[in-house]
Symmetry: C2
Subunit: 230 residues, 2 copies
Amino acid sequence: MNDKNAVVLLSGGLDSSTTAAIARDSGYLLNCLTFDYGQRHAHELNSARAVAAYLNAGKHLTLKIELDKIGGSALTDNIKVPKNRDAAGIERCIPITYVPARNTIFLSYALAYAEVSGAEHIFIGINSVDYSGYPDCRPEYIRAFEQMASLALKKTVEGTMSVKIHTPLIEMTKAEIIKKGVELGMDFSLTYSCYDPSPEGLACGRCDSCMLRLKGFEEAGFKDPLKYRD
Amino acid sequence: MNDKNAVVLLSGGLDSSTTAAIARDSGYLLNCLTFDYGQRHAHELNSARAVAAYLNAGKHLTLKIELDKIGGSALTDNIKVPKNRDAAGIERCIPITYVPARNTIFLSYALAYAEVSGAEHIFIGINSVDYSGYPDCRPEYIRAFEQMASLALKKTVEGTMSVKIHTPLIEMTKAEIIKKGVELGMDFSLTYSCYDPSPEGLACGRCDSCMLRLKGFEEAGFKDPLKYRD
């Protein structure tokens, strides 16, 4: 057991990359965990690899998971991704890009990886400000997951390990996340967030994720180093 | 939403097959969910298919999950499976066949499948008698998972759905499980439990899982219809 060992859920997007940078800056050894879940933006996987390397992660595990077979979301089904919605429109309803139980599945794998790695800390880049519609992005959900985790593992039940889930972005706006990342020297040109990229991997600039990202950079007073399609 | 719609975790083993038979007998429509997790006994997958068909399941989804990449267990690693341990020996310690966070991962997928299927009921064939060493086979773990689930899904948070996890075997001995299955007309020749089968899929008769199964049949006063290697 190394009390500075952490599992970091890393999608390669802006939020998870900033989360990884925060964990690194706090002195944690990073065991990054990325999911290849039949999402349409597989370019994120390359971003995840680049970010893990940039932050000098000790390990980086990528797991295929077949969320697409379960369905129920625009990210894995063939539903049209909504475009050009403003932030208010995005926040009004639970987005159709919601994937059922996604964070629960992600955190469950992180828990397995944590026990095997002897990591007592799990970092996840959720936030309840820009994604208020996602039930599994709220602090009360995270506390309930931690409570369940304390009863789920051999080592937690034996009392040789506890599991703490860190959500450093949970109260931050997109602009604050970007400012934090810039402050920590994160190279945001490596990160990727688009729900509907071109075949070459260029971001669309118009899906919910791109709109929130661009608005965040504007509010933070920085230029987004990412290349966009339009 | 159909209040008699259920997701049943079905490995093709004796316990999960009896659980599915109980759910069916209680009038539930079965949405079976099976995992192909790099386990060495892939013959279980054929058993799962046969059992789902035998019980007239409405749907049967098999998902590949890469638990073997996480490791930490004899079921997915190349650690030698212990043989010829008696029941007391099996119960004395947490078996090395323990897979970290396995039930948490399984139940998380079941939660996603439940929301997509409109199923408010999840059946899992865990029991805390023969597998007292597994932390995620205990009632307090299940209650904590339900509590987390109530905060995790769009439909549970909206209040249009609740999730109940059923563990009908949790207080039963292996012999009681077998008696129950026989009473419900379950065909146990379709089921499969061996941790270390021959290449043709014959059970070894000596691993923990076979030993518990054979002891259970003996105590229940029935002959195991399964063909064994030795």
